[in-house]
């Protein structure tokens, strides 16, 4: 059946069954996943799936239901369930649906050639990346290589006459290996994901990075507990950006559960930091012509040279805040309500090369791995496990593991004093290499 037509008809059905307003989201998709270990297929998985989600409003009360059975009885049942349940909830004038008919043009989100690539080639890629990563004599074991791809189509329609669809694809592969030396074990891995098969990095590049990731951390040393500079590798940008992002959630801000709640149009960080959320980047892994409820996406500067310019909103939270949706309704899929989330979220590049940043650091931690929850979005506190390299007199001295780092969002963000030129926009939620003047480092 034509799913666009089906979504529109189901909206009508919701209204006929008693909803004042309704939204229908249909998702179909298929995926393939291959896992390879020691040159053999370990797991092969292939499937297609589908589902529909109904968001209904009854007297400004909102409920949602989903099902993955497209029979008429199942769909009727799901709609009735949502409507019946909505009646029990709290009425809120902000419970509205978007009506923006616009669609942002975003190129390259779907690769029509992806499924044409022969299966043997996909298996071969995973086998090759594993074999290449194992070539280094310091690498002793494979923890597995993998290849995955998927296609998804989304149809969204609502009772304001909005009806949109999009088709996207994604593909990725990677490998994870172990380096051993005596009793020591160190694991490393690398993967690459893209919208188009042809844009994937080479097996050599992925394998080399995975192997290096593992062996370079052998023979770590422990350093004293101290305050020192911390250089953040792009691999760990998420540790800082994740907490900022959660604090930029417009609903958290309204609830007082964000450390940025009173910071609009004020300076929250060093002038070096500019944060952008871009839903429009061609071929972007998080790009989309419209957000999770059909609002057109945009490219927004969220923090401009250290000054906070705005938060992120979906339609309902924006109405409550008295502004327009920023096109940041996120959606896990057909079975979930829209939340608030970013698209391609990143810190803009600066001018220094990573080498220059290391060279100008007298003493500090070149951070390659962080564990923990990152910045606490409620109060800005940060604490995490840390690994990477110790820098002395502008040079990498030795690997370090088992350290901790801590600070607050305020001191970390204001402490950014060098910014790299190595931004890779193919990563999601990323930053160039940057340095924080000093943080508390926990060691022996």
């Amino acid at each position: 059946m034509d799913h666009k037509y089906m979504a529109e008809q189901l909206v009508k059905k919701c209204l006929a069954k008693g909803a004042d307003e309704a939204e229908v989201l249909i998702q179909t998709g298929k995926n393939l996943s291959l896992e390879i270990r020691n040159g053999e297929i370990e797991t092969a998985e292939e499937a297609s799936s589908q589902g529909v989600g109904f968001r209904v409003f009854v007297a400004s009360k909102m409920a949602f239901s989903s099902c993955n059975d497209f029979s008429e009885a199942a769909l009727d049942n799901a709609i009735s369930s949502a409507i019946a349940f909505a009646k029990n909830l709290t009425s809120d004038v902000n419970n509205v649906l978007p009506d923006d008919q616009g669609v942002t043009e975003v190129e390259g989100l779907y690769d029509p050639n992806l499924t044409q690539v022969p299966m043997d080639k996909k298996i071969e890629m995973a086998k090759t990346v594993e074999a290449l990563a194992m070539k280094d004599p310091r690498i002793t074991k494979s923890a597995g290589a993998g290849y995955g791809e998927g296609e998804s189509e989304i149809f969204i329609a609502n009772s304001h006459g909005l009806s949109k669809s999009k088709k996207t694809s994604s593909v990725g592969f990677g490998v994870s290996v172990v380096a051993e030396k005596g009793e020591q074990k160190s694991s490393g891995g690398e993967y690459c994901s893209r919208r188009h098969f042809a844009d994937l990095k080479s097996e050599e590049e992925i394998a080399e990075k995975a192997a290096q990731d593992a062996y370079e951390m052998l023979d770590p040393q422990m350093v004293e507990t101290q305050k020192a500079a911390v250089i953040f590798d792009p691999d760990v940008a998420r540790a800082i950006l994740g907490g900022i992002l959660a604090a930029l959630n417009g609903e958290r801000v309204l609830q007082g559960a964000s450390f940025l709640r009173e910071s609009l149009d004020t300076k929250i960080s060093s002038e070096l930091m500019t944060l952008v959320d871009d839903g429009t980047r061609p071929k972007g892994m998080r790009s989309t012509p419209f957000d999770g409820e059909g609002v057109p996406t945009q490219k927004r500067v969220v923090v401009d040279k250290g000054v906070l310019k705005g938060f992120m909103y979906n339609t309902i939270v924006a109405k409550r805040a008295g502004i327009q949706s920023t096109g940041n309704a996120s959606r896990g899929g057909y079975s979930s309500l829209p939340g608030i989330g970013p698209h391609n979220f990143y810190m803009e590049a600066g001018e220094s090369s990573p080498k220059e940043i290391i060279r100008s650091t007298k003493k500090g931690l070149y951070l390659k791995g962080v564990t923990g929850y990152g910045i606490n979005p409620v109060n800005g506190n940060f604490s995490g496990g840390a690994s990477g390299f110790w820098v002395e007199n502008g040079e990498i001295a030795f690997p370090v593991k088992g350290l901790t780092i801590a600070g607050t969002a305020e001191t970390i963000l204001n402490g950014i004093d060098m910014l790299g030129n190595d931004l890779d926009l193919n990563r999601t939620m990323t930053a160039p290499t940057f340095r924080v003047q000093f943080m508390q480092i926990g060691g022996k």
Partner: protein
């Protein structure tokens, strides 16, 4: 999607890579794909009938093994769930879900083929069987055993079935929690109450002749409260979850959950900067068991052992922990969050002693890894849904009761950190390096709990931590959680009050001396 926020493990990039390679690269590669979207849908009607006839299950298994392979199974699932969110004293949203489907798996040597379908009919099941059989091509053909219904002891009892509960009852427990939280202290400015329940109907049939069916209820109740102090805010959290009927709320009231949460929010408003560096840690009984769940439990899952990459590879029968340390995974504890009567491959749940008096006894296995390492099946083969392959997972995992009195453990610790509760953490199962974030913690001075300190990270290596556990209390308790390993599953973690010597604590303040 409130529930998705509460991972036992958060997913740093490196960790994510390892998990995604295990749990399917598709997860990393295809963020918008549906295979990862299940687990918290909601619905209210009686189950749609998905009983698949025995003949069809048999035909599917036979088809799956047609090209070779030594084992095949079919898993048919129907999950009806509902989730309600109350925030700022308003019922903001309700989500129902009806999800059904079937997964077909074929094992041939070390290889697994898997396919699933949302739409359960003969054509789709046989097609899935054919796709799954891809990996077995060319291997020896084995004929499946005819399936017969099997018996399993049940560890999940229900007094008040979730299907019979009026929606008003659900809303009422939420209102009660909300009110109790706001009444607790004027510093509590907001409460967020999340209610989730589901009934998961499972049918499992395999080529060994097994046929099993049951319906598994699950309740998950989460309270979060925002405490507002002079210069700081703290979001507290408390969770209650069981595989049981609605009687759960008679045994632990919504008010108790809310007050426990509010108490944390208020107490932590006084938190000072935590110290940084290596110190002794006393962990209060209960959810702190997530430390051994991560640090010891994951490395004891047999999949990484079979690959010979796990931190405990080759250590069976060896002394790996201090003499006082005994650790158990027990999926048969009545009605607990990690409990089922049988795992998602049909293996009966039982008590598995993993480490006894410091000596490694066994690994946690599913059907495949049990075969690979030549060990019995322990009942740890679990799957998030029909869209996921079963893999070795924990159930209710805990440090067993010791002999020390909790108050003595604290009193005999001169200086250090008293961890009342942890948020969660993660581990690299290969290297055994773990991390945890403290939710509520206090400094210990002269054997007494003193100043509360801000959420610090604890890090270390699994082998060190169990070797350095030198006191274990007699006050075993549990807490509920969600464990992520490429796919989600419900678990509980437990421990008595314990002391671990010399953990690296990541505070923001240099320690004196």
């Amino acid at each position: 999607m409130t529930i998705k926020r509460y991972f036992v493990e958060d997913i740093p990039r490196r960790k994510f890579l390892q998990m995604s390679l295990k749990g399917g690269v598709a997860l990393a590669a295809t963020p918008a794909l549906m295979s990862q979207l299940l687990s918290c849908n909601g619905a209210k009607q009686a189950p749609v009938d998905v009983s698949v006839d025995k003949q069809l299950l048999s035909r599917t298994i036979r088809k799956a093994l047609e090209n070779g392979g030594e084992f095949a199974d079919v898993y048919v699932e129907n999950r009806i769930s509902r989730e309600i969110l109350m925030e700022e004293s308003k019922f903001k949203s309700a989500v129902f879900g009806i999800n059904q489907g079937a997964g077909v798996r074929v094992i041939s040597g070390d290889k697994t083929g898997f396919a699933y379908t949302d739409d359960i009919n003969e054509k789709n099941l046989l097609h899935a069987a054919e796709v799954a059989s891809y990996v077995a091509r060319g291997s020896k053909v084995v004929s499946p055993v005819d399936i017969h219904e099997a018996e399993r002891e049940s560890y999940v009892t229900v007094e008040i079935p979730l299907e019979d509960i009026a929606d008003e009852k659900r809303l009422e427990v939420m209102k009660r929690a909300n009110q109790a939280a706001l009444d607790y202290d004027p510093k509590i400015k907001m409460a967020s109450i999340s209610y989730y329940d589901e009934v998961r109907d499972r049918t499992i049939a395999n080529s060994e002749g097994l046929l099993l069916n049951d319906a598994l209820p699950l309740l998950f109740f989460i309270v979060q409260t925002l405490g507002v102090g002079n210069n700081t805010r703290h979001m507290g959290r408390e969770r209650l979850s069981r595989h049981s009927g609605f009687e759960m709320f008679d045994e632990v009231t919504p008010e108790e959950v809310a007050r426990t949460c509010a108490r944390e929010s208020v107490a932590m408003l006084e938190a000072k900067d935590a110290p940084a560096g290596i110190m002794d840690v006393v962990m209060q009984n209960g959810w702190g068991g997530v430390l051994v769940h991560e640090a010891v439990g994951h490395p004891l899952e047999a999949d990484n052992i079979a690959k010979k990459v796990g931190a405990f590879t080759g250590k069976l029968g060896q002394k790996v922990a201090s003499d006082v340390f005994t650790m158990v995974d027990d999926g048969s504890l009545p009605n607990m969050r990690g409990t089922t009567s049988f795992d998602d491959e049909g293996t009966q749940m039982k008590r598995n002693v993993l480490i006894k008096d410091g000596v490694l006894q066994r690994y946690m296995s599913d059907i495949l890894s049990a075969k690979q390492i030549g060990q019995e099946r322990t009942g740890n083969g679990r799957r998030e849904s029909f869209r996921h392959i079963p893999i070795p997972r924990m159930t209710n995992t805990f440090i067993d009761r010791g002999k020390d009195k909790p108050e003595d453990i604290l009193a005999s610790t001169k200086e250090g950190l008293y961890v009342q509760s942890l948020s969660g953490g993660s581990v690299n199962p290969i290297t055994g390096v773990f991390n945890f974030t403290c939710r509520e913690a206090y400094l210990i001075a002269n054997g007494k709990k003193t100043t509360p300190v801000k959420g610090a990270t604890l890090i270390g290596n699994c082998l060190d931590i169990i070797a350095n556990t030198d006191a274990i209390g007699n006050d075993l308790a549990f807490g509920p959680g969600i464990c992520g390993k490429g796919q989600m599953c419900e678990v509980s973690a437990g421990q008595p009050t314990v002391r671990i010597r010399g953990i690296n604590v990541g505070g923001s303040k240099a320690r004196r001396g």
